[in-house]
Symmetry: D2
Subunit: 134 residues, 4 copies
């Protein structure tokens, strides 16, 4: 089982700002898309957690350090790993690496709770655990 | 009852792109926020339609003509009017007017169906009609 | 030379709204990313037009008809073609097709002017024309 | 001079996601709009820093803790203060407070460098300092 998952992206025009670089909030959008692909790579799509297991993973804390800017049309990957996986919470880590020079452009993390549709904290579904434990 | 409603906005940094102007998809976001305020000005917040009346207004067609660009931090209004109001659909019209020179920057429209939570077409709730008919 | 170009996408969580479907303004973002890939497929990346040819393609008109909704994590393609290619303007057409059932979810078009960095209308760069004429 | 500045917002439909709450990346967009209004309240609009003083404030680090969710159409304020103001960097702090129950929904901070148009680190313009020092 792969410890991390690399998800490829390209900066959209919509994601640039007038400074000519990718706007800072978009990194959190990429983190989200990357952790969705992380779950898929573990053979347990996030959508399945919501629909079949009544388990939602809202973000309770997010952090990002911006080291170098990304420009329009640049290709990069978001390297995602599941750093902590507890009964009621988990923590994903991300590295944003620009492809051409293999340059680390940003790194961050997000902390998530497990809740049900009603918003109550719950433990991670037993049947899905084995997909996320290394 | 006012025929149109003017809603004030200011271009956010997030809404600019590397051309140094507001990115074109954001106008549709402003249209949405403006028609929400249109409903509120008619004393019937859109949220009430969804929550109390099980009536949703998905967009089935959208159009925008861009006449002049908007820049970061510029103030503008979206002038919104309800051009058609039928049993099962309605059409909103918008004018985006920059404040300083009273310059028309864009105009557009959105067509909406009335559906319920299950996605079935429905007629507009009787009790709410009077708020939207002039 | 291919008449149209198919660009694959997947609906991000960020792109959904509380109706549980992709928010309508995002289609214009996908159109933009798709026409960038259209240009790339023609061996002339859009970024090159801006950087090497001082040619920008702002949108002067946009239209979208929404036929069926897209949900979180759904895969779809945007089929893009260059319908008109004139001296000072062009028109792209798009079809949004959901992968699983090959369902047409939306169709739209965008009209663009050719301008230089100073915002003046210009003709399309001669050296790049052959990449876009069929 | 006010130590903090309160900027009013309302959750747009575009900003909700299928969990029925405001998507987490939008808080960073609100932080940006709020610090722009912070600068304006200090009589020195951020746009002036860029245009007149060749001073840009890219974000080098961002953090957000999400305590309670915000729903569509909810009104809230972002309370912004300038916590650190150094020669070459500064740090803004934010509190997101929902209006109805005066409920703290999120808190965060952003760290910024001062750079010029070419991307070189520079010190804050002398003439503008007095607007930001308490």
């Amino acid at each position: 089982m792969n410890k991390h998952v690399d998800v490829p992206f390209r900066v959209r025009y919509a994601e640039t700002d007038q400074m000519g670089v990718a706007y800072y909030a978009n990194y959190l959008v990429w983190f989200e898309a990357a952790r969705a692909d992380f779950c898929r790579a573990r053979n347990y799509p996030y959508s399945q957690l919501e629909e079949k297991d009544d388990t939602f993973l809202p973000v309770v804390e997010a952090h990002c350090r911006y080291l170098d800017s990304l420009r329009y049309d640049q290709e990069f990957i978001v390297r995602t790993s599941l750093k902590e996986f507890r009964r009621r919470s988990c923590l994903f880590e991300y590295q944003v690496v620009e492809n051409e020079k293999n340059n680390l452009c940003a790194e961050g993390w997000t902390k998530h709770l497990f809740i049900n549709r009603e918003g109550k904290i719950r433990s991670f579904p037993k049947s899905a655990e084995k997909f996320f434990i290394d």
